[in-house]
């Protein structure tokens, strides 16, 4: 396959990628990825980024004083 043809395939694949990822299906089995190292690397990177982001920020409660200020503000608005 010529380089131009391969690029067209990459472009077409990457245009479809948001929709493919959005379906939640296993994109890694897409036929284009069998022959395209660049797009395989792209998909791996995107999955790595999403996974790393999920673990980035610990979930915590706001401090109690936030509620105290909310209560105080509500009372003052009455």
């Amino acid at each position: 396959m010529s380089e131009d043809a391969n690029r067209l395939n990459c472009e077409a694949f990457q245009e479809q990628l948001p929709e493919l990822i959005g379906t939640g299906e296993d994109v890694s089995s897409h036929p284009h990825l069998e022959t395209c190292e660049l797009c395989r690397a792209l998909l791996t990177d995107l999955e790595t980024i999403a996974e790393a982001a999920r673990q980035l920020f610990p979930i915590s409660d706001p401090p109690d004083e936030v509620w105290e200020h909310i209560e105080s503000a509500i009372k003052s608005e009455k």
Binding site: S60, D61, H69
Partner: protein, 230 residues
């Protein structure tokens, strides 16, 4: 005056300088669409009814049930604890003022998040930093039109990503991209929920998320692990 944690104004939409164009439907959302009817949660429905009738204890319980997610959303969007606390406070004050208008047409969580997002966007609008609107974020840049990812040298990330570099890269995302990235990849909302919150199409939500991830990938490749964007 209550001991306000900041100088934020709840109705500042008309008094702010036009530093950023935020879609009016995002800042002032119309009643929730009736197309997303959800099965009612009896406990939540009862709490909501009581809070709408002015029961302060019921409102306190609603706060307790939702404070963590709203605070985390604010924190992830602004990256600053004090500002996130201010925004959480403001979001729940807005909720208290508007809770009587909630009609149960959409999930309460979606409605509350939409309200909190409006508060966050108003805060970002007041920043001196360059930001873009959701509308602007929907428009592809020249780079993105050209499909910049294919054909480039293989510089894919090498396994683990430096947390600090990733955090900086997320902070440097345009607001519109960061919002959808945070909502989907970090908060775990589905595209249909995000589309409902932001009143955009599901396709737009998917597209924006993909662009955000591509920008993060570019940032992490340009700025090697451990360095981040300066």
């Amino acid at each position: 005056m209550p001991p306000s944690r900041s100088s934020m104004q709840s109705d500042g939409a008309t008094s702010l300088p036009p530093a950023v164009e935020v879609p009016s439907q995002v800042l002032n959302p119309p009643p929730a669409p009736i197309t997303t009817v959800v099965a009612p949660n009896p406990v939540l429905s009862d709490l909501l009814a009581r809070a709408q009738a002015g029961d302060h204890l019921a409102f306190a319980q609603i706060y307790s049930m939702n404070k963590r997610r709203i605070y985390s959303l604010c924190l992830r969007m602004v990256g600053n604890i004090a500002a996130a606390e201010d925004l959480t406070q403001e979001a729940f004050l807005q909720l208290h003022r508007k809770i009587a208008t909630f009609r149960g047409d959409s999930a309460f969580s979606t409605w509350l998040h939409r309200l909190a997002i409006n508060v966050v966007l108003m805060h970002l609008r007041k920043r001196a930093l360059p930001v873009i609107s959701l509308d602007e974020a929907m428009e592809p840049t020249d780079d993105e039109r050209a499909g910049r990812s294919f054909g480039e040298p293989d510089l894919h990330l090498s396994g683990a990503i430096d947390r600090l570099a990733l955090q900086r890269a997320i902070e440097n995302l345009p607001d519109g991209y960061r919002l959808i990235f945070v909502l989907h990849d970090i908060e775990g909302f589905e595209h249909n929920q995000i589309a409902d919150m932001l009143e955009c199409s599901i396709g737009n939500s998917k597209s924006q998320l993909h662009k955000a991830r591509l920008k993060l990938r570019d940032a992490l490749r340009i700025y090697p692990r451990g360095e981040g964007r300066r």
